[in-house]
């Protein structure tokens, strides 16, 4: 599902990742841990093809960074749900409009959008808050909204970049439970975190990254 083969990427002034080899299977929950600046976000950006490797290649659901055309990247991203530490919710739209955005992009009909959004908000525990604006939601609720937006298109992969970074421990724990449930339903989750204590006892695969290199 996700395969990185000898991937290296450098920014102008510093190294992003070096010679990364990694395979994430369907239904797998994978944590990538490492200190700030170790290359976790670079890895995420390489996976959703916001960056392209200087060497090696990234393969996602049959798309190959060495061959993909720019016009195919949106289609690739429609199959990946993304969650960030900074929620990236649109402050001038209510919860419903924020969550419905990916469905509009995919050209889903209005009636279907209404049903799907209601269903997903129910799943993440935000049902009844459709008309609330992001600033009317707590940090945990905003992150759930972000998850709802990532999940609403029923992606095969969820990429979560430090999703608990801005949350208190209890809310962070609830969020981890939610991601576990999502993974249990068949979605591969690839999550970056620097909070080892939060993930160590969850029984999932953990990969360590340091100075751009993966450690066993």
């Amino acid at each position: 599902m996700i395969a990185l083969e000898n991937v290296s990427f450098s920014y102008k002034k510093w190294v992003g990742v070096t010679d990364v080899n990694l395979v994430v299977k369907r239904d797998e929950f994978t944590y990538i841990i490492g200190p700030t600046g170790s290359g976790k976000t670079t890895l995420m950006r390489l996976i959703y093809m916001d960056l392209f490797p200087d060497n090696g290649r990234v393969l996602i659901n049959g798309y190959d960074t060495s061959r993909i055309k720019n016009r195919h990247i949106p289609r690739l991203r429609q199959n990946i749900g993304m969650i960030f530490q900074e929620y990236h919710l649109l402050s001038d739209r209510n919860l419903f409009a924020n969550v419905a955005l990916p469905l509009h992009v995919m050209g889903i009909k209005r009636n279907e959008i209404k049903e799907t959004v209601a269903e997903i908000l129910n799943e993440v525990g935000l049902y009844g808050k459709e008309s609330h604006y992001p600033n009317e939601l707590s940090g945990g609720e905003q992150q759930r909204a972000c998850i709802a937006r990532a999940l609403v298109k029923r992606p095969e992969i969820i990429l979560a970049d430090e999703p608990t970074g801005n949350l208190d421990p209890i809310t962070a724990y609830d969020l981890m439970e939610l991601l576990d449930t999502i993974n249990g339903e068949g979605t591969a989750v690839f999550m970056a975190s620097h909070n080892y204590t939060l993930i160590r006892d969850r029984g999932h695969r953990i990969i360590q990254i340091q100075e751009g290199k993966l450690r066993a």
């Binding site: 429609q78 990236h88 992009v105 937006r149 298109k153």
Partner: protein
Amino acid sequence: MDKFLFLVGEGFKNLWRFKITTITSIISVFMTLYLIGILFTIGDNSQKLIVYLRSKYKIEVFFKQEISDTKAQKLTQEIQKIPGIRSATNINRADAARIFKQQFGEDILTLLETNPLPASCVVNISRTQSSAIDIAPIIAEIKKIDGVDEITFQGRLISRIERYYDLLFKTLTGVAIVILLVTISIISNTIKLTFYIRADLVKALKLVGASNIFIKIPFIIDGILQGLIGALLASAALYGTIFAGNHFIAAMTNRIRISSDLFIGLWLTIVAVLIGMIGASRATAKLLK
């Protein structure tokens, strides 16, 4: 269809969400289009004036004494074929004597017992071409015809009128092009500004898999709407100005009237929609590279 409605809705929402920048842009579009409309009206009216003046241009061609009326008729037909000539009217010797009598009150045949007046023709030149008319090549062509004795025309006056008209036409075209480019730039910058303000939306759209064209369309619709509103306001103001101008002139004289193209509003709207579209496409193309 739902996708299309969503994009159109987003375009309208952009307009509403960024009222201040939108109003500034609409005012700029309004002012520039109004100016273009005024320039167009000046150009249109001066074109009508030049057509009228050209209808007054007269070239008189006198044939040699020995040329018979029949031959003069043939030479007149030959002159009519020269490019740039609208019509040539033959005046035979008898007609010339009649004209003489009308103008001087004397019958030349009674005075001299013979008619010394040659056959001639009066030439009118084409009057509807938009570029300046150069009278010299026409005169040169007429002179080449065997049997032509003398040509009289208001050469200096005609070339002066044509030179001024040409200068006016070129100036108006140049100013209109500059104004159009400025308007495109204004719309383009407004859209760029909106684009920067909406960086969060653009980022969110990219993350959820929106194509560049999907991201661009609402901004292009925004640009078109700005152009459209500006054009409607400019058309109304232009018609108002022409109406007021005619009202003012009518108080002084009823011989002159500013004529207006009925479709000028439509033309301005088409121009505005095009520049709105070009401006927005230009801005988004640069930012989505």
